[in-house]
């Protein structure tokens, strides 16, 4: 199928970024939010891009409503960062047409990477159409399955957890650990800089979710939990492993 009209339903600032991205590539983009009656708009959509806040109940409502109003062949996509695609798909009558499109902004060059998330029911065709759509927009996309933190932040969260353990057990300082990872292996950032960038709360949430699914080896280091309790979440709170002015 060809996608021409995209309806973006969201409350977050991110929705204007999405609008820019898709409008620039020549798509007809309709903006909507939860305060609007988007039933009529939905009836024209080839693709719905949901970007409301991370609340499963809200998201399920949006999907139910879009499912009722959108043309039968339309794809319904969520930008959620949580492993909810399968669950969201289940409230619709077209679970094979529900997909996750999670956008991660590169902290260095501000370009996006999209992780196309396949839920249990998502069809190959839906994945393929999504991939082609993103190619047209000029965004790099990778295909993945549902896992906490998806692939990017799952890797980073695991590294952060080990680094935090090394720091709490006094093997090395935060600064030396970050410095060595950057200069000895050419990492773009050290683990603690990553933690502060992604958010310590997000790291803990991913680790907790991983430990529920895959076992206790993912349990977050106690220091990370304490930092969340203290409100030291990273750059967004001006304090994490480092202090930001």
């Amino acid at each position: 199928m060809r996608i021409r009209t995209i309806i973006i339903i969201g409350e977050t600032e991110f929705k204007t970024k999405l609008q820019e991205l898709f409008s620039k590539a020549g798509f007809k983009v309709i903006m909507s939010d939860l305060n609007q009656d988007y039933d009529k708009q939905a009836s024209e959509a080839d693709l719905v891009l949901e970007t409301v806040s991370e609340d499963i109940v809200l998201k399920e409502e949006v999907f139910k409503r879009c499912d009722a109003k959108c043309p039968e062949q339309a794809i319904l996509a969520t930008t959620t960062a949580k492993p909810w695609v399968t669950q969201i798909a289940e409230v619709t009558r077209r679970p094979e047409k529900v997909v996750g499109l999670n956008f991660t902004k590169n902290p260095f060059d501000e370009k996006y990477l999209v992780q196309i998330i396949r839920g249990l029911q998502t069809s190959d065709d839906t994945i393929q159409v999504s991939k082609e759509l993103l190619e047209q927009v000029g965004v790099t996309a990778v295909k993945i399955g549902e896992t906490p933190g998806y692939i990017l932040d799952r890797v980073i969260a695991s590294v952060v957890n080990e680094a935090a353990l090394m720091y709490t057990t006094k093997l090395a300082t935060v600064e030396d650990i970050d410095k060595m990872m950057k200069i000895c292996t050419n990492w773009p950032m050290g683990p603690f800089e990553f933690a502060d960038t992604i958010g310590v709360d997000k790291v803990v949430e991913i680790l907790e979710s991983l430990s529920q699914q895959l076992g206790p080896r993912y349990l977050p280091c106690f220091l990370l939990r304490k930092m969340v309790n203290a409100g030291w979440l990273g750059k967004k709170t001006k304090r994490g492993f480092y202090i930001y002015s």
């Binding site: 890797v155 680094a163 093997l171 000895c184």
Partner: protein, 287 residues
């Protein structure tokens, strides 16, 4: 204390590079290996590197000549170690051979000499304890190639004195390197965290979450990693990767260090990465 003369043991990949860096920074270096041909090979590699630097105008001919004049090759351990302030050991990664060498050095070296090991896999503490002065024993973990890699992990044990540590930190700076201090522990900082980065990526492949190419692409495009974990594994060689992985698992005894199934199976199948034309990726066949 002041370091003037350094003995470098082992003229292989790491040893010759370490000797060169020390000599370039003005230290007198004795470069020792167990066979003449190893010493000669090391010295000729240094010469080649220096010639290349002169050619590319990174160094003057005088600087190159002065550097090579500071390096003395030998196969005699006594000759290499009797008058040095510091020994940097970069020999084969075998704890028993290393311990024997340090026991011998204990008899040969001046009383106040510092012993440093470039090991990446053995316990610094275990080696230190075979010497009479574990307070003057330290780890000095260089990265390959030593001439170009700026970071050095300085590994301290519970016995290492503050003076020894200070001397080594200063030395690193004089060599133009950046020291990172870590307590003696498996994998130190860099290799231990790299293991997690690799394992988590490979585990996701095993779980069917994503393919190598998608994982590599994601990490490079979103977070600017220069190479992805699968590409790097293939580059280094999966057999080598498995040995390192097993060592970490054995030493740290935690699930996150367990060698991922895909790595074990690739090695069993003889798909070792670029060198065999196939690993996590396919490469043009080598004939």
């Amino acid at each position: 204390m002041e370091i003037r003369r350094i003995g470098v043991l082992g003229a292989g990949t790491m040893g010759h590079g370490i000797a060169q860096v020390c000599a370039q920074s003005g230290y007198q270096v004795n470069l020792q290996d167990i066979k003449d041909e190893f010493v000669e090979a090391g010295i000729s590699k240094i010469q080649k590197f220096l010639d290349g630097s002169v050619e590319r105008k990174r160094m003057t001919q005088d600087e190159a000549d002065l550097t090579s004049s500071r390096i003395k090759g030998t196969t005699d351990l006594r000759e290499a170690a009797k008058d040095v302030d510091l020994v940097i050991e970069a020999i084969v990664e075998d704890i028993n051979i290393k311990k024997d060498v340090f026991k011998e050095l204990d008899q040969i070296c001046p009383e106040d000499a510092i012993f440093a090991s470039n090991t990446s896999a053995q316990s610094i503490t275990e080696m230190a304890m075979v010497t009479k002065h574990p307070d003057r024993f330290i780890g000095m973990h260089w990265f390959n190639p030593p001439q170009l890699m700026r970071g050095i992990e300085v590994i301290v044990t519970d016995k290492t004195s503050q003076e020894t540590l200070d001397t080594m930190v200063n030395l690193c700076k004089k060599l133009g390197k950046e020291p990172g201090i870590c307590k003696d522990s498996p994998g130190f900082i860099v290799n231990r965290l790299l293991q997690i980065w690799y394992n988590e990526s490979l585990n996701m492949f095993d779980e069917g979450v994503a393919d190598p190419q998608d994982i590599d692409t994601a990490l490079k495009v979103a977070y600017n990693f220069r190479m992805g974990p699968f590409e790097l594994r293939d580059l280094v060689g999966l057999d080598v990767a498995l040995v390192v992985s097993e060592t970490h698992y054995r030493e740290l005894m935690r699930e996150q260090f367990k060698p991922p199934r895909c790595l074990v199976m690739k090695v069993k199948a003889g798909d070792l990465g670029r060198k065999t034309g196939r690993g996590f990726y396919e490469y043009e066949s080598k004939t």
